[in-house]
């Protein structure tokens, strides 16, 4: 039987039969991979604890027709700081959910993989208020549907941008405005995110603008996927 090696981030797992799980990974070279982890639910399993969602691993799998079979796993990063912090988990879950919906089985996606591992590392180091929004906009950019930020998405005028409409694909000027009204700082932050000044955007302290970035990024991703991101709406938050 053919085997393959790749890195992967565990997106989700599902119980299978008596003691197995189906583990869904996103990988750089094989896109989305769904593989059976045999016996993983038994506490003595060598795999137990190594294939929880959010874990970054290298792995070797048998190639199957529909489902692959996990053979060996080595953990690169558990992202312990994320999984031990209730306030960081919702962002991580939303990232995994979006990637799960965007990634395609057996289609290489090195850009997406790098963006995800980078975002998880950043989240593990500390939460920036625009991190999730920035991640979603980067993902949309990789999908070829990044937001229009340099001029009005409707009339292309180089006028001040005052609103964001996911149906129009970006920010809008005063005469074309529809969707959400936004602050000028919000426009600036999204420009930094898609314009390669991510570090600067991530350093922004929490404000109305950083909240708006997350909101419009989520709306745009949901519009692109044509469904709700469940994690963004019912993740466990502070009471």
């Amino acid at each position: 039987m053919a085997t393959f090696r790749d890195e992967g981030v565990v997106l989700r797992t599902m119980k299978l039969g008596e003691a197995d799980r189906i583990v869904t990974f996103v990988t750089p070279d094989h896109g989305k991979v769904r593989a059976v982890a045999k016996g993983i639910r038994k506490p003595k399993s060598k795999l137990a604890g190594q294939l929880e969602p959010i874990t970054h691993v290298t792995m070797m799998c048998w190639k199957g027709r529909e489902l692959d079979v996990v053979q060996q796993v080595q953990v690169i990063d558990h992202f312990k700081a994320i999984r031990e912090d209730l306030d960081r988990m919702p962002a991580a879950f939303t990232m995994l959910e979006a990637v799960d919906l965007v990634a395609v089985e057996r289609q290489p996606m090195p850009g997406l993989f790098k963006t995800l591992t980078g975002a998880l590392r950043t989240l593990a180091e500390g939460t920036g208020p625009v991190l999730l929004g920035a991640f979603l906009f980067r993902l949309l950019d990789l999908e070829g549907v990044g937001p229009i930020v340099d001029s009005c998405a409707s009339c292309s005028e180089d006028a001040p941008l005052v609103a964001f409409d996911e149906h129009a694909g970006g920010f809008l000027c005063r005469s074309c405005r529809s969707g959400q009204p936004v602050a000028p700082e919000t426009v600036e932050l999204v420009r930094q995110i898609v314009g390669g000044q991510l570090r600067q955007a991530l350093a922004a302290p929490p404000s109305r603008a950083t909240a708006e970035v997350e909101r419009i990024a989520t709306l745009t991703m949901e519009y692109h996927l044509d469904r709700q991101l469940r994690s963004a709406h019912l993740a466990p938050g502070p009471q």
């Binding site: 038994k42 506490p43 795999l47 190594q50 294939l51 999984r83 209730l86 995994l96 959910e97 019912l234």
Partner: protein, 199 residues
């Protein structure tokens, strides 16, 4: 596709958790081969659970009457509640013989990607129980995996203003394994070694 009734059976079996289309076919043809008595025994025991078993009105464990066997046992300590995901975890904890209080079965764990938030679990029922039942300690005995830990953290935060002692089973349990497969000794030690959890 098979002839009508066989395909119906395959479809029904395929809806069971963990049973793929191949296994569904295998089980269906197995049932065709066994004696009629044996097959009907299975059908009868399914009908029997559906008729006789319901959920305990207090703790949502499986029960044969209004209260489950644990809740109707007058020797149990009413001041301490062990929160578990599933009725099967009640069995696992009972096997350890280290716990003498009551249970609360959540009906799962937080799993936002699959659409399971606090509203989908019996969290509100737990709060109602805690508000008037003289409970002084809650042990969070959810699975030692990401979803179970998230659920424990969520509950610890939710319960912290209530002034009830909130503890989590000790970390001696292997991460990622299911509680129902943990051996009695390890799970018993994890219960005894539980530690206080802050919200």
């Amino acid at each position: 596709m098979f002839a009508g009734p066989i395909q119906e059976l395959v479809d029904e079996l395929g809806r069971l958790p963990g049973v793929g289309p191949k296994s569904a076919q295998r089980i269906a043809f197995h049932l065709l081969e066994v004696s009629k008595e044996e097959a009907l025994r299975l059908a009868a025991s399914i009908a029997e659970v559906k008729d006789r078993i319901r959920l305990c009105e207090r703790c949502f464990n499986v029960a044969e009457s209004e209260l489950c066997a644990v809740c109707s046992d007058t020797r149990r300590d009413l001041s301490i509640v062990c929160v578990v995901e599933d009725p099967r975890d009640v069995v696992a904890v009972e096997r350890t013989r280290e716990f003498h209080g009551l249970y609360h079965v959540l009906g799962g764990a937080l799993n936002p990607i699959d659409g399971i938030g606090p509203e989908q679990l019996r969290v509100r029922d737990l709060l109602v129980r805690l508000s008037d039942d003289g409970i002084v300690e809650v042990i969070l005995c959810t699975n030692p995996n990401l979803e179970g830990e998230a659920t424990a953290m969520y509950l610890a935060r939710l319960l912290s203003p209530l002034g009830i002692r909130v503890t989590r089973i000790a970390s001696g349990l292997p991460v990622g394994g299911d509680l129902e497969y943990a051996d009695e000794l390890t799970l018993g030690r994890a219960l005894v070694g539980r530690r206080e959890m802050s919200g």
